[in-house]
């Protein structure tokens, strides 16, 4: 047992590796939130009148709403008037090549190990890098443009493709959907927009890296993905953030609209600053992610690896409206120290023969709390629905918690819904088996945890799988392997 304690100690004392700040001359809005701030953001971004109205409508709804309290997470109350709702790097100009990118910014990417050049050249990933809410570099745009694919920052999309944005913005997550979605709708700074035309198979993985940079800057990203009939896209999102003592709020919204026969695969690796070992600091991650399979035979797949943030509150959901549509959710959530994660999914079955699959793997260590909260809902007219959910939790240490809250609501007798969950610690006999074959305990535990998460990690695209495995290894290093 003392060995375990040592290992745990080592793990808990490990500092966040990506902790530093880059001084970018930020162009900030004054602290606080009121209609003037929203007008300021909208004016700053030269937005059309309808979008300003849309934001104001969201703001008015938000004012009437209360912060949700049902999640199994505890954190000090957020003062929404103490947040800067807009900040942008000052020197904004259109960039065509990487040479034009701010050298300081590129330094940041180098520290993170994301070399734009290398990514561009070797991996074929188009990277839309977002720092402090404004896109500064967009690559591979031309290649994509040839296929008719639009992949750009949200603000560019507002300028260049207003009709598309107007049509789909809020179609999946309406302004008044929930407290944080309403807040996001009112003040969102920027984000990504992606449109895949009919029948186009996007030849490369699309990727965005989010970073939270200037102090006291709330991040309110908005992502909108539209896949037209018969198209395919795999979209990646990954995050790391510099170390800060003050809690930072992140309330993003991701909307995905999938038309008939189209398929969207959305993958996330999240590694924001989780706070130090006493639970001080860290990011509050309150995200609304939802997609709709609007047409028949549409497919939407969410894959997430959650290792960061002090508090995570995130339920990527699928509305399976089309007949024979498919929704998938694969998740690995790792919490350590005083991290809290309340995450899961919603599968709303409206279409006939719609299918969904949920695989959630939680790993908790230290003093952390890790919850799965999910809803599987089968509506009355949804015939022959099939759902399978599996939620496993692994506990490392006797001070952490793992909780499962699955809601299953079935209104149609032809539905076949299954749910299973297990909670346990790593089997002593499994470790013994490895020890016996000359594998030390640390390596054995790493092996077992990797095997445990494999089902989900396998769902990640190649480029991400490597990073995710690194992250998992890093988070678990010292604690278990």
């Amino acid at each position: 047992m003392s060995k375990d304690a040592e290992i745990l100690d080592e793990f808990t004392s490990k500092e966040y590796e990506h902790g530093w700040t880059v001084d970018l001359e930020a162009d900030e809005a004054p602290k606080g939130l009121n209609e003037d701030i929203i007008r300021f953001i909208s004016a700053k971004k030269e937005e059309p009148e309808w979008l300003l109205e849309w934001r104001l409508k969201a703001f008015r709804q938000w004012q009437k709403m209360e912060e949700p309290k049902w999640a199994a997470v505890k954190y000090p109350k957020v003062n929404f008037q103490d947040i800067i709702y807009y900040s942008a790097p000052k020197k904004q100009k259109k960039l065509n090549s990487l040479d034009e990118v701010d050298p300081e910014l590129r330094e940041t990417f180098k520290k993170l190990g994301i070399s734009l050049e290398e990514q561009k050249r070797l991996t074929g990933v188009a990277v839309d890098a977002v720092i402090d809410s404004v896109s500064v570099a967009t690559t591979f745009k031309e290649t994509l443009a040839e296929l008719g694919i639009i992949f750009c920052s949200f603000s560019e999309a507002v300028q260049d493709h207003p009709n598309l944005v107007k049509k789909y913005l809020g179609s999946v997550v309406p302004q008044g959907d929930n407290f944080y979605a309403a807040l996001n709708s009112a003040v969102f700074s920027d984000g990504s927009f992606c449109y895949i035309p009919k029948g186009v198979h996007c030849p490369m993985e699309l990727s965005t890296y989010f970073r939270i940079n200037a102090a006291n800057t709330g991040q309110f990203e908005r992502t909108l993905i539209v896949a037209e009939e018969g198209s395919y896209v795999s979209y990646l999102e990954g995050c790391t953030a510099p170390q800060r003592d003050e809690n930072q709020l992140h309330a993003a919204v991701v909307e995905i609209y999938v038309h008939a026969d189209a398929e969207v695969k959305y993958s996330t690796v999240q590694n924001w600053y989780p706070g130090d070992k006493d639970g001080k600091g860290g990011i509050y991650n309150f995200v609304t992610k939802r997609g709709i399979c609007a047409g028949d035979h549409a497919k939407l797949s969410w894959t997430q690896v959650e290792t960061g943030s002090a508090v995570t509150w995130k339920y990527p959901s699928c509305i399976l409206k089309g007949d024979y549509s498919v929704g998938e959710f694969y998740s690995v959530a790792v919490t350590n120290n005083h991290q809290q994660a309340d995450t899961g999914t919603k599968m709303i079955h409206l279409g006939k023969g719609s299918k969904s699959r949920i695989v959630s793997k939680g790993i908790s260590a230290g003093f952390s709390q890790n919850s799965y909260r999910g809803l599987v809902q089968v509506h009355k007219r949804a015939e022959d629905v099939r759902n399978f959910s599996q939620c496993d939790s692994l506990l490392l240490g006797d001070k952490c918690g793992a909780h499962t809250f699955p809601y299953i609501e079935v209104d149609n007798s032809s539905a076949q819904v299954e749910h299973e969950a297990t909670t346990s610690k790593i089997g002593e006999d499994q470790i013994f088996y490895c020890n016996q074959r000359g594998i030390d305990t640390e390596a054995a535990v790493a092996l077992i945890v990797n095997g445990y998460a494999k089902e989900v990690l396998n769902k990640l695209p190649m480029e991400f799988a490597v990073e995710a495995q690194k992250l998992l290894a890093l988070t678990l290093e010292g604690s278990v392997g």
């Binding site: 499962t404 809250f405 809601y407 007798s413 539905a415 076949q416 299954e418 299973e420």
Partner: protein, 412 residues
Amino acid sequence: MANSVLERLLQKPEGNGFDAVREKATSLIKEKGLPGKKNEEYKYTNLSRLLEKNFTDFEGNKEANLELLKSKIPTLSTIQLVYVNGNLSEELSSYTLPKGIELEALAANADSVDENADEFALLNASNLKNGTSITFTKGFLVETPIVILHITDSSKNQAASHPRLAIKAEENAQATIVELFLGNGDATSFTNAVTEIQCKGHSLLTYIKVGNENDNQLHVGNTKVDVAGNAVFNAITANFGGQMVRNNLRIALHESYSEAHLFGLYMSDEKEHIDNHTVVDHQMPNCDSNELYKGIMNGSSTGVFNGKIYVQQDAQKTNAFQSNKNILLSDNAAINTKPQLEIWADDVKCSHGCTTGKLDKEQLFYLKSRGIDEQSAKTLLITAFANEILEQIKSKEVRAYVQNLLHNKIGG
């Protein structure tokens, strides 16, 4: 919101020496109010609305038609105590008690009123006028099951009853107790029962709760169980109807090496609504719990299941298993289920599973291909599904009685 209904429910009977309990519970429930839809625990079962809508008179039925009721009483040779609208009926009861059983009037004091208790348990306490306490004395094995029968009779007018029962199994005692809830009459009635059970060290207690009420009856049952070291507690809950039924079964394993086994069957049709909430609270190391609940929903009825397993930080080496299986027989039937695990200890083995579907087409086909008609084949499959629970009832006589209720339900 439901204040007026509360006022009526809170009418105080005179005397009986339970004034302090009633007073405390009344002030608590007034403060809390009855749970509405916003209450997570009662999210799917909004009793307050039904109580509000359907009750004009909570006075209860003062005079019951005993002759008529007699015919309703199952002919079980086991020991029977019969309560009509919450009052012990000396005429209907038969009580020649074997050795090892002590029967007393309930003693209660205000300290026993828990402010965190379920709202309906508080409502029961605020209406406390009598109660029964059954003790199985140390070291005795009582082979005959004790049957407690509650009849809510609303044949003359609306009736509400708040029966209260305390069961104690002393060290090394072994016994089986059956609580049977039946209804009679066409007017709306409301049964709000509380049963408190204590299992002392090394005891073995089987508690069977059977509900077979009318479509105009509302039922809330709160069963709270404390299980001490090395004791084994078995619960079998079977419900065959009622307009709205809610069972809260809360079991605390508060000493090491204790065990709890929970089995449940709920079968509803027409517009019935049956809700089972269970909590198994593992407080100490080396305890086991095992839970299996099965539901069959027909007509436009609704089933609700919520099973919580808590494993506290001290409860290492816990084994806790839970399973919930549901069959929907008609297109308008619905099930809302929420198997929930909350675990704060690491050296544990916990799992839960939950399935919902209709009768297996291939099994039906198999039977039909052997010349069994569709209706019989269905009956066969449903009976087999339900019997996994009912077979847990060891007493042949009681099991036969409950299986008969099942057959009537399938047939009807």
